[in-house]
């Protein structure tokens, strides 16, 4: 529960309002082991503490990255940090993506907006063990072309023969040559075998609801769909109750849930 000091190595601005914080342990050369999909509580001293998904490669635990949007007091303060500044890190917390359980299956990753950040970790891990999976397909939707995260990596991944990457934006000016339309519109034609596919979905809750419907229409069973939920997490260890989601605490039982285990909660506006 006590934050460990980590030093800022680099802050990379991904878009006009998002950045990636690259951290290393402030003391010694400890490695930070985590699983794809987990999050940390990041503490900007004197400002506050917030949960942020880990977006780096779990197979390279010497580098710890978090991508976030400058939207609140803490993230705005975080965006002003400089190389060498120290912040507190508690974690890793929460349930991971089912990267091992997807062995032998097609994997379809559906990301919306900043939701690509926790899925990047899963993608790194799967690409590090590429032979374990059949097809891997990334479907990524953002608001406009200027909101696309991780541009260099996406370009590199698009050039790979063992990974299908499809990007779409909700709106664009006429100079954009890519897809325009919601991310769900990519699902019907995406090249994966629905009967033997595991789907990992992360993005705004409305986007995930429509995505799950489209995946099921395509034939992916609810038990093969995983979603990453976002709630107001405070303690990170299932004590304070801020992130209660029906009988679950998102910080402890999630953030990654198998869809069929939360389906009855997901569709209710009261929860």
């Amino acid at each position: 529960m006590v934050p460990r000091p980590f030093r800022v190595q680099q802050i990379r601005h991904e878009t006009h309002d998002t950045f990636t914080l690259e951290l290393e342990p402030a003391k010694g050369s400890e490695v930070f082991l985590f699983k794809a999909g987990q999050f940390n509580m990041l503490y900007v001293f004197g400002v506050g503490e917030i949960p942020i998904s880990i977006s780096s490669d779990p197979t390279n635990p010497r580098v710890l990255m978090h991508t976030t949007r400058e939207v609140g007091v803490v993230t705005k303060a975080m965006g002003k940090l400089r190389r060498g500044d120290v912040i507190g890190v508690r974690g890793p917390y929460g349930s991971p993506w089912p990267v091992e359980q997807a062995d032998g299956s097609d994997v379809v990753i559906v990301a919306g907006g900043i939701g690509l950040a926790p899925l990047r970790s899963a993608l790194y891990q799967m690409l590090a063990h590429r032979q374990r999976y059949e097809k891997i397909v990334l479907l990524y939707g953002t608001r406009t072309p200027n909101d696309i995260l991780y541009r260099r990596e996406l370009q590199r991944w698009r050039a790979q023969f063992d990974l299908e990457v499809h990007i779409t934006v909700d709106r664009a000016m006429s100079g954009w040559r890519g897809n325009v339309g919601v991310v769900t519109s990519l699902i019907p034609r995406a090249p994966f075998d629905a009967r033997n596919a595991v789907a990992l979905v992360c993005g705004p809750e409305i986007m995930m609801r429509f995505t799950v419907l489209e995946l099921q229409r395509r034939g992916v069973p609810p038990s093969n769909i995983y979603i990453s939920m976002e709630r107001n997490m405070k303690c990170g260890v299932g004590v304070c109750g801020h992130c209660q989601f029906g009988p679950c605490f998102v910080c402890r039982d999630g953030p990654v849930f198998r869809y069929d285990t939360v389906q009855h909660l997901f569709e209710r506006r009261e929860i």
Binding site: D17, R69, V71, G72, G112, G113, I114, G141, T142, R143, D147, D170, R171, A172, M173, S174, W176, R177, G178, N179, V180, G181, V182, T184, S185, R189, G203, P204, I206, M207, F210
Partner: protein, 153 residues
């Protein structure tokens, strides 16, 4: 070489149609190609065709005055382009422009409207199929309007 009838029969949009209906539709169909940047139709023009895109990408665009030209949707191989031929006043509401070199099957909407008036079974089959596409696009448009990725806070 695959005939137009074969291509149409294999397309999901026409799957399940009776052979006699498929023959009628084939009689109203022809091949077309569009260069990159070429307009397929323009807003306000008479809508007397629809298109089955076989290859390439088409952008549906609207010119928004000083803002410039906004792409509201793109359509790719396998997609159906255009339903204004089916509904009065038979005018296009957007521009359609080939973003890449595009091959399509063009279906003559005037010809099909006449055939549908003569054979209501054909009309019903076509309307059912278009209703599904219109519903999908309406849902997608609603999701787009929600602007789910906007910063809130």
């Amino acid at each position: 070489m695959r005939t137009l009838e074969t291509v149409l029969a294999e397309h999901p949009f026409f799957q399940g149609l009776e052979k006699r209906h498929l023959e009628v539709i084939t009689g109203c169909a022809s091949n077309a190609t569009f260069d990159e940047g070429q307009f397929i139709f323009r807003e306000g023009e008479e809508a007397n065709h629809f298109y089955l895109i076989r290859q390439g990408r088409v952008a549906l665009e609207v010119h928004a005055g000083g803002v410039g030209t906004i792409t509201i949707q793109t359509l790719d191989a396998g997609d159906i382009l255009g339903w204004s031929w089916l509904v009065p006043p038979y005018r296009w509401h957007f521009d359609a422009r080939a973003v890449e070199p595009t091959r399509a099957i063009v279906l003559d909407g005037e010809c099909l409207r006449r055939k549908c008036e003569d054979d209501h079974d054909l009309g019903y089959e076509l309307l059912k199929r278009f209703a599904e596409i219109i519903t999908q696009r309406l849902q997608a448009t609603r999701l787009q309007l929600l602007d789910v990725y906007a910063t809130r806070g």
